[in-house]
Chain length 389, copies 2
């Protein structure tokens, strides 16, 4: 970790500080710190914090991030776009989200992102951006800043997302997949703040996980680490969209869950509640199943439990392999809540090595739907503050 | 990585070098390098390499590791002990191996290790050791240097292996589990030399793996990462010694293989070859199955294939999760060779993400039975050269 990065992230996370505090926290010699601070003040990234600058004889001013720093965080989902502009300390100064179909292609979606940013600029929230972080719902080559064969993003394959946004907005841009971005968010501002080795599981239209090792996102040799949705959990299971049989995603995901719920609803004797809802609305959502489970509907509870067991089966193996410090469950289907969590935990605690589970919290995401945009801001700050992510 | 460690490991791996070469390879400023070299020469760790020391006008001597440095590598197995004393460049100066039953307890086994080292010392191969590295066949708390609840090592639980050996031989000692040690060996001197993200699978009396991330052994939150032997591969499988059902180890390991081979041998019609061997020797070994498979015995080939498929099932999931750069198969059962490898590969290539397997070699260990002792020497050198492993 460079002194520059250490210094800027301390100011990001802890606000104004004295040189003595910074030197102590970073454990670097004071002269080296002061030299770096001089450079950062000269470039305008860091400023002396006004009120304490001239207190008493011993001049020991606080320094802080320039309040004018601006980062843009963009969270693209299959069906929505969230944009947040923050200051250097990741505090939102403006935000906007709206419906947006990722399938309308990159020109349309990124064009809309630019319109939103232009509008925020026009409202006076910034004049220029220092960095942009963006999460995409598909595999991404982080190094190249492009999506690679993303299954639910027709027209996006190898589209130069980083370069397009960078040229448009005149600042560096980091592109990552949504799960890695959510993991960054949860680790920075969520339930995993104190954790170094983390698995963040996103359960939504698919299932994927972010892996953090020694405090950094681990991407793997080809950048596709964490793609656990197609691990086989039932050799006699249904055929998956990938062509294999019994993949985790084929058995439990938003689509699989609503599909199974609709089957039970049609057979009205099994769950009169789901049958009524289906008759009234014409379709069922994961939310309906969650509500049903919360209301004690046995079929809904059964669906959630079965799903939890499937995810638990996969996680049990990964826990034995990786021996993480924490597992966080996020994504839409985390709304299924404690019934999901209880079943998943019971499988992991039963099947994994006792030594690996003795001190292993398995918890729901604290940031929920905000994990993506929070993580994208962290991603932007890591780029602006000069570390390779 | 410290300059000291970088410098000493360069001299370990590439022999005598000039200061210019070292500065170039380490990419540190020359004054900083020279200051560190001065310290290392003063302490006797590094010496000027004789022949080139005074060549011509421009004095640019080569430096090298003190030829008198001595490291001890100890490879403890369930049934054998291997000891090697090497110079600072990990070249063996003396070695010894013998039968030794780990179940006779730490006082006996470590006492025997000390006798062997004393004998090598008496033969004049060293006067003092700079460090000892030792691998144990069970879970180890690396930080404390002790085995923790090792299933096949009665009497060893929390025995202070590090402190006992350190006191006895007056040098620092690093203790790790055998699979991590073999992984170190394979990465340093074996087939994985150029690889940063590695899974090394040991298939023997149990199944475990060593995980290397960004060039370093990854141990996990509680130090038990890589313990994949109890991942479930068949929900209807046999009960495992751990109490769960259908664990990988319960379906494929030295014991499981010879047990199944004996079943087929008793039913002589299935494999007359195994039946004959069993009648002649009274028991069957993994070697017999390997020989049978090599000779074309259908039952033996089937046993090896089934085993490979089981291991492949687990690895397929781990490949999707970790996206490693290479998988190395080692341990006794790697002797089952290319039939095992072919089956295992076919499952991984079929089931894992194409992006993760596109460029993924799955290969047999190059060091074979020497991986443990080679890795223990690397472990000792990492300790002696001042890095935290």
């Amino acid at each position: 970790m460079s002194v520059r990065y250490g210094l800027l992230t301390l100011l990001r996370d802890h606000g104004p500080q004295s040189c003595a505090q910074l030197a102590g926290r970073l454990q670097v010699p004071r002269p080296r710190l002061l030299a770096e601070l001089d450079r950062l003040v000269a470039s305008g990234t860091v400023v002396e914090a006004g009120p304490n600058a001239s207190r008493g004889r011993r001049r020991s001013p606080l320094v802080e991030l320039n309040p004018g720093l601006r980062l843009a965080a963009i969270d693209l989902d299959a069906r929505s776009v969230g944009v947040e502009v923050t200051d250097g300390r990741l505090r939102a100064v403006a935000s906007h989200s709206e419906h947006c179909d990722i399938r309308t292609g990159p020109a349309n979606v990124l064009g809309r992102v630019t319109q939103i940013l232009d509008k925020i600029r026009a409202e006076g929230h910034f004049t220029r951006l220092d960095a942009i972080g963006i999460g995409l719902p598909g595999p991404v080559s982080f190094r190249e800043g492009i999506p690679v064969s993303p299954p639910i993003m027709p027209g996006w394959d190898r589209h130069p997302v980083r370069d397009v946004l960078s040229e448009e907005h005149g600042c560096p841009v980091a592109v990552d997949n949504d799960v890695n971005v959510m993991t960054l968010g949860e680790q920075h501002s969520g339930v995993a703040r104190t954790v170094d080795n983390l698995i963040f599981v996103k359960i939504g239209s698919g299932i994927g996980c972010g892996v953090q090792i020694d405090g950094r996102i681990y991407r793997g040799a080809a950048g596709c680490a964490g793609d656990i949705g197609h691990i086989q959990v039932d050799a006699d299971g249904p055929v998956c969209s990938c062509g294999n049989v019994g993949c985790l995603e084929a058995l439990f995901s938003r689509e699989a869950l609503t599909h199974h719920a609709a089957e039970y609803a049609v057979d009205g004797n099994r769950s009169p509640m789901l049958a009524e809802l289906l008759a009234a609305k014409g379709c069922l959502t994961a939310r309906d199943v969650a509500d049903g489970a919360a209301a004690g509907d046995a079929v809904c509870i059964g669906l959630v439990r079965t799903g939890g067991r499937r995810v638990g089966q996969v996680l049990a193996g990964l826990v034995s392999f990786m021996n993480p410090s924490m597992i966080v469950i996020g994504g839409d289907l985390a709304d299924l809540g404690h019934i999901l969590l209880a079943e998943l935990r019971s499988v992991v605690y039963q099947r994994s090595l006792p030594l690996a589970t003795g001190d292993l919290p398995i918890v729901l995401s604290e940031l929920g739907g905000r994990a993506g945009v929070v993580g994208a801001a962290v991603l932007a700050s890591e780029l602006a503050y000069g570390d390779t992510v």
